[in-house]
Symmetry: C2
Subunit: 403 residues, 2 copies
């Protein structure tokens, strides 16, 4: 059994999004080619909530909760019952399958909180957990902290197909080899691919065949681009206990500063998540929970406009990467893009540091998401013209440091 110290070696956060401020610049003069590029710093490690501001009414909902006092400060660990009841209705309508307000919902501190609690509720030491590669970096780390065994399932996201490209034969093998938990993000983080209806149905069939519980992280599923379709796993006729779905208003709605997430589905899992929340953080901050009242209740046209603005940035960035010979999959939803770099004369960590100090662009290295040392992830929820300028610099840097 690994000691506490061994476990933490696997949980390094130095390259995690938002932690760049803790890295030293080191001596880069030795590596640097050419001059520092002019331009304003763009932090692509997360969305810019000053460029895309929070949903209207959020701060008012918070202030009303403060006025309400103790009733809202101390909610059940799983969150205020009236807020969960309203959410259950909206989430059932959005996902196309019923949500039990009392037994099947829990409000968490961000979707990160929901992911940790869901895996904490499902994974014991030694348990195999199927994890897509590439996928959100914390998925693997949470399983490692719980001393489970992440078993990778590759996704061929640069294949010719319009599908996500998950290797369904491999998924079957991993389930057959004993994995009873499968965790995946849809749209995929970092690539922005959306799983096809065929892929989601295949996942549902395999989950039933092998008695697997699926944790579906659908954080970005509302930010779906024009003409794309999205299939909700939980609406594929699976037994209720087989799926936990995770969503939250932090990304598309720019409400990250409130740390709110929700998990819904399998009552027995939600029940264990609440027991775990009781010792991990007690509850999502009481007043903050009230901000969920604004979710799925945005003003007419607000979400459509937000999608349109993101799609325009996406299209411009894709054009720049492709014109610069950095092959890039088209994101169908969300605000991540995952361009492929040429072979570089420097290591990926050094290139990422050079991008920051020479080109004023903060990106997340592909190695955070799996064995993807030839890619970087950008969150393009940014000021449109700043994002274009910084992307031009990134493309120029890729050529400057190409082997």
């Amino acid at each position: 059994m690994p000691s506490a110290l061994d476990t933490f070696a696997a949980l390094a956060t130095d390259n995690a999004p938002g932690q760049e401020v803790r890295q030293g610049a080191g001596d880069m003069s030795r590596l640097m080619r050419g001059e520092t590029m002019p331009g304003q710093l763009v932090d692509f490690s997360h969305g810019d909530v000053d460029a895309f501001t929070p949903t209207p009414g959020a701060v008012e909902a918070f202030s009303e909760a403060v006025e309400a006092g103790g009733r809202q400060a101390y909610t059940e660990y799983r969150g205020a019952a009236d807020i969960r009841a309203a959410l259950a209705e909206k989430l059932a309508a959005f996902t196309g399958a019923p949500v039990s307000p009392d037994a099947g919902t829990i409000v968490t501190p961000g979707t990160q909180g929901a992911l940790f609690l869901a895996l904490g509720a499902l994974v014991a030491p030694g348990d195999k957990v199927a994890i897509v590669q590439p996928d959100y970096f914390a998925n693997r780390k949470i399983v490692q902290f719980l001393r489970g065994q992440p078993v990778p399932v590759p996704m061929n996201y640069m294949g010719a197909s319009e599908e996500a490209g998950i290797d369904l034969d491999r998924l079957r093998e991993v389930f057959a080899a004993g994995a009873r938990v499968f965790l995946f993000s849809n749209p995929n983080n970092p690539t922005g691919v959306v799983y096809s209806a065929r892929e989601i149905r295949a996942i549902a069939d395999l989950a039933v065949e092998f008695d697997v519980t699926v944790v579906a992280d659908q954080l970005y599923s509302r930010l779906l681009y024009d003409g794309e379709t999205y299939t909700h796993l939980r609406a594929c006729g699976l037994p209720e206990e087989r799926v936990v779905t995770i969503m939250g208003p932090s990304k598309t709605e720019s409400l990250s500063g409130y740390r709110l997430g929700i998990a819904f589905g399998a009552p027995s899992v939600i029940d264990r998540m609440e027991k775990l929340q009781a010792i991990v953080s007690l509850r999502a901050a009481g007043y903050n929970q009230a901000v969920l009242r604004t979710w799925f209740s945005e003003p007419e046209g607000w979400m459509a406009n937000r999608i349109r603005l993101h799609q325009a940035i996406r299209d411009d960035l894709l054009q720049l990467f492709r014109d610069g010979s950095l092959p890039t999959r088209t994101p169908k939803a969300g605000s991540y893009v995952f361009p492929t770099l040429p072979d570089l004369a420097v290591s990926l960590p050094d290139f990422v540091r050079l991008l920051r100090h020479q080109a004023h662009a903060i990106v997340t290295p592909g190695t955070e998401f799996g064995p993807h040392g030839h890619s970087i992830r950008l969150n393009f929820s940014q000021n449109h013209s700043s994002a274009i300028a910084a992307t031009r610099r990134i493309v120029a840097m890729a050529h400057l440091y190409a082997k």
Copy 2:
């Protein structure tokens, strides 16, 4: 190795404070003696933030943070650097030993979050952890979730001495038997005792002798009653890496609805706590962190007045319990009181349910804190006259159901 399901059986929250709303009333007519008592419901499971309202300026600090936008929404995982720097100064002054603002502080979602992260950073499966009995119920549960082994160290809080009554011989035995982590709350939750200078120095000496890391939960240490003295473990000359101190503005300052805690001390532990926070909840909600600016900066006289008001309630409740022959230790700090019940003709869980339904008083059973089936815990941070009325009912109920 226990499965995920076995572990959760140990984490039952049905009797945890605030979860009473999820209990059914069941059929109590079979058990009930006498009539339902008139009176307004008092929820002693936690403080009443409507009776003792949050620190002035909290909501304004929050609103300013929302105005500040992205800078405050996405902080480092360990919390905004400027907020931690200001806190480090205040906490060094309060505890009497230096605090490193960068290496030695982390802001967490409540002190609950800090406790979980500290133990998560220190405890591997099979590790022995010394835990005081009685002490905060989550301490034992967190160790169990981490598959560590809680080893009890009794505290004779009803002894004749003015000291807390921790069994220091037993503590030495537990350290000698291999426990390398010791977790305790001071003031003790649920009894309100404060460890004497002699006891704290003995703990410090044992920690050095056996290379033990001590997690000191000092959540209530500011609410210290007239004439009492408090000894900060971290100011006893221990090496920096031996102590992590946990505090937060949730209780005394009634800021629970914001979910804020802080751990400070041992840099290597804080470092691992941050790595863990990255996968557990990312960070304390960004805007909420700004509320910490009001902490230790309350208006002149505000804290002294709050202490005076709590001391008056404490004294009245102690009088009522003692007049009613319910032996009770005098709390020296904090707002918990832990009276001893007579032998009852009903089980403690039934008595607690009867208190709620017949006497309109919600309390926490002593069994949450260790093998203390003869006690109940009350948080007396309540409206003064309501607390007195409800305490009279509790005393009457104890006599009504005495064997």
